[in-house]
Symmetry: C2
Subunit: 323 residues, 2 copies
């Protein structure tokens, strides 16, 4: 089981390495939502997303012997860059298994951190199997993207900082979720530090596998969801994250992509912040379900900002349709 001590240990490892990202407030936003909103700006984190926390903690926790033959990760997105950068900072080799059709900017950024990138066809090949081959042939250590306690512990440090830096106790915390690693870590930290706080996972309306899983009482697997929130296209949560979410979440909020686009525009024009679709998912859920949070003090994660100018413009103009 993941404990608060694990998250505290991760916080100690990350101190001076990860940015302590700001908690940002806006009178305009508070008026729009009808609540007091505290945004944890993980889009300003190193490599542009909270994923750095988990990746770094996991690579660090391996110890020197564990890192000797390098590390491996499979990811289409921010986890890839997180593990690549974490490996570079630890002076060890990293191999990242990425879909051949991943955005060129993400492939380039991952290679820019010194990682070897192995591509696969995501329609015909199984990325986990490709990664296993690397693990077996090289003896490298696999760093899973979410279903792995050291990763969850790293992500949970986000909630510690948010709660410490918010000027008042929070009634609720909303975190986006793909496989559940981020919200699980945050839930363990938040419920320890603020007993009674309600922690919500936020999912795209068309990719609500965690909502379905919690309702069913077992892990439900869905088709690859059609959503602009590319960090949340997981088909099912993990066997380690699921029981934590069962035990600690107050609920799951879902939101249509169109509302995510609306919040990305608000963050750009009113708050001058660049946030990727999944990064704006939790705020969009809060806006979509704002009646439920009227007058409350709500922490919300802006989980990442890795979106190109071109994709941002396409989303805003409708050239990339929202699901």
């Amino acid at each position: 089981m993941l404990t608060f001590s694990d998250i505290e240990a991760a916080a100690a490892r990350l101190k001076g390495v990860a940015h302590r990202t700001p908690v940002i407030t806006s009178r305009t936003l508070d008026a729009l939502i009808g609540a007091r909103v505290y945004l944890k700006a993980e889009n300003l984190q190193r490599m542009g997303a909270f994923k750095f926390r988990g990746g770094y903690n996991a690579v660090s926790a391996l110890g020197e012997a564990g890192r000797a033959r390098g590390v491996v990760a499979f990811s289409s997105g921010n986890h890839a860059q997180a593990v690549a950068l974490a490996a570079q900072l630890h002076g060890c080799a990293a191999t990242i298994v990425m879909p051949a059709d991943a955005p060129a900017s993400k492939l380039a950024a991952t290679r820019g951190y010194g990682a070897e990138v192995i591509t696969y066809d995501r329609y015909t090949e199984d990325r986990a199997a490709v990664a296993r081959t690397v693990v077996e042939s090289r003896g490298a250590a696999l760093i899973p993207p979410f279903d792995y306690y050291p990763v969850m512990a790293g992500q949970g440090t986000t909630a510690i900082e948010l709660i410490e830096d918010a000027p008042e106790p929070l009634d609720a915390l909303i975190a986006c979720t793909g496989g559940g690693g981020f919200v699980s870590g945050c839930a363990v930290a938040a419920t320890h530090l603020t007993p009674g706080i309600e922690v919500f996972a936020s999912e795209p309306e068309l990719g609500n596998d965690i909502q379905q899983s919690l309702a069913a009482g077992h892990i439900v697997t869905i088709d690859v969801p059609r959503t602009i929130c590319d960090g949340q296209q997981t088909q099912s949560c993990g066997t380690l994250t699921f029981p934590i979410m069962q035990a600690l979440l107050a609920g799951v909020l879902t939101v249509p992509d169109a509302v995510v686009v609306q919040m990305m525009r608000f963050l750009f024009e009113r708050m001058k912040l660049v946030v990727e679709p999944s990064g704006a998912n939790a705020l969009a859920s809060l806006f979509h379900h704002r009646d439920r949070f009227a007058g409350k003090r709500v922490g919300v994660t802006l989980s990442g900002g890795n979106v190109s100018v071109e994709r941002f413009a396409a989303l805003m103009s409708g050239a990339e349709p929202a699901g």
Copy 2:
């Protein structure tokens, strides 16, 4: 003359009202420039630009009697919103004279702060004359956009915060300039706090009236410059700002619009910050003249972030051509 005490007094008035915006650093940026760069993120200031500081200080310094018949400003941009918001916060009336073809978002934002907006045709009418009519008919107090000590004093508080919050003494400070109010205030503050610091004004290459004026030894007036940096389309500096710049500036840096666009993209994609063209002008000048600053510790103002999604996209795609 503008003194450091005036700026300290402005800082006291602004305390708890203006945001103390963060000083942001980036390893990637430092590597790109070849210097240690400290960005003062005034794009995160209230109403999205440093102009709030000067507008608020000026309205505040009028005193209750001075504000009784309201305030007036003429501005096509951020100064309009700054005075409107400052008046709203002081509970007094504001009339803003704006060009009829100002961006709809700026007209709406100014009205949103409760100001009355009077529009004029900027090809046939003189905005100063329109404003004077309002002053004379209503007895309102005019808040000029830059050539006015209380405005300059407010802007100068930016440099105090940058110098206090940077973790090491600065060798140089670069601030964008239109009429010279911002860089004058910053120069008075910076040279007082850090003797020996070199303060530079930054201008669009095609709108270099201050560079020409300092070279000529008198104020030079140019045609309305063709530049995307709409906050810097002034034709000449002020009679109060000119002698301060003559006395305190180490030089004027100019930069082509295309480099401004390049830096706006860098700030978006790598730093997740939305910065308007004039807001990125000083950083673009630093990048353009980076050989001159190799290895130095350089403070740079990101002066504003008021750009719509549509204009940002047009600038990035080249649909709005850079001068």
